[in-house]
Symmetry: C3
Subunit: 131 residues, 3 copies
Amino acid sequence: MKQLSVHSRRRAEFIKLDAEVGKAIEESGVQEGMCHVYVPHTTAGVTINEGADPAVVEDILARLEYLVPHGARYVHAEGNADSHIKASLIGASALVPIAGGRPALGSWQSIFFCEFDGPRHRQVLVKVMEG
Amino acid sequence: MKQLSVHSRRRAEFIKLDAEVGKAIEESGVQEGMCHVYVPHTTAGVTINEGADPAVVEDILARLEYLVPHGARYVHAEGNADSHIKASLIGASALVPIAGGRPALGSWQSIFFCEFDGPRHRQVLVKVMEG
Amino acid sequence: MKQLSVHSRRRAEFIKLDAEVGKAIEESGVQEGMCHVYVPHTTAGVTINEGADPAVVEDILARLEYLVPHGARYVHAEGNADSHIKASLIGASALVPIAGGRPALGSWQSIFFCEFDGPRHRQVLVKVMEG
């Protein structure tokens, strides 16, 4: 298992992990299998979506904020209840098939670390399974 | 890894994949393991939910449309920003345990390809892992 | 594959599975791999989020209810359409990496069974894969 370091600069931000995930698969030498990208945090997540037009990520973040506003009333008193809720809606991990030693992503797909309570230093675990 | 072709007929539509996934597992000969159903697209997803009453899928699609309307204002200029957002809420893949050479689905569970920007020709990747 | 029994006491409730999942991994003897926690139901799910402050779960449940109210109008006639929708938003399973014979959860992470149509007797499938 490989551990990546991610540094977010805003409260809510998606950070592309394609290069790091591709490198972890390459280093593993695995040709066919699955790659699991996992965040060990409770106010962040992982999603797969379009990486070409940054407006897509902007729209996802804006809609999540509209559905789960930072400033709404919550019971959790740390000011980041919305971040926890967004994390559960997006999910803590993504699983990507590996084919020919590379992630079998579609033409438009990127793997994103999803920050919902930054800016922060974060970790991402990347596990490659053969099979 | 097996590649399925899926043809959607509406803009938003769930299409049952149970038969194709069951067949992929059978063809692999794997008795115990996991089956990963993955869409390499950014305006589609995969979910597991009730397959018996079509009203359930209808309600899921209607609520997603209510929460993320096609006609709302978005930055992404291709007219399918809502499709991208819905894809990230639902997720790009589902992982199903295999027991006795079959998907260990519950009595009411079906695996659905989720179209959010159809009608289109789509692909679904099905990977079977032994273990 | 191990099967857990879960008993929910309210209509909507998150139940911590950390101890049971940790035990399943320990019993399997697997040191490095992945653990898949799966619900074979269509009105329940699995999520990973903060387990320390119960207010976090309370906020997640309240926001899901706000976004997908039990009392809204739905086509599905069994009175639990909202439960099905919530299940698809949260997802039917979680995948956790295993390191050193233990789930590689972050300091604040817990694995939760998510009940959306209780109280009920439920099952959770826990599969440990080596690799």
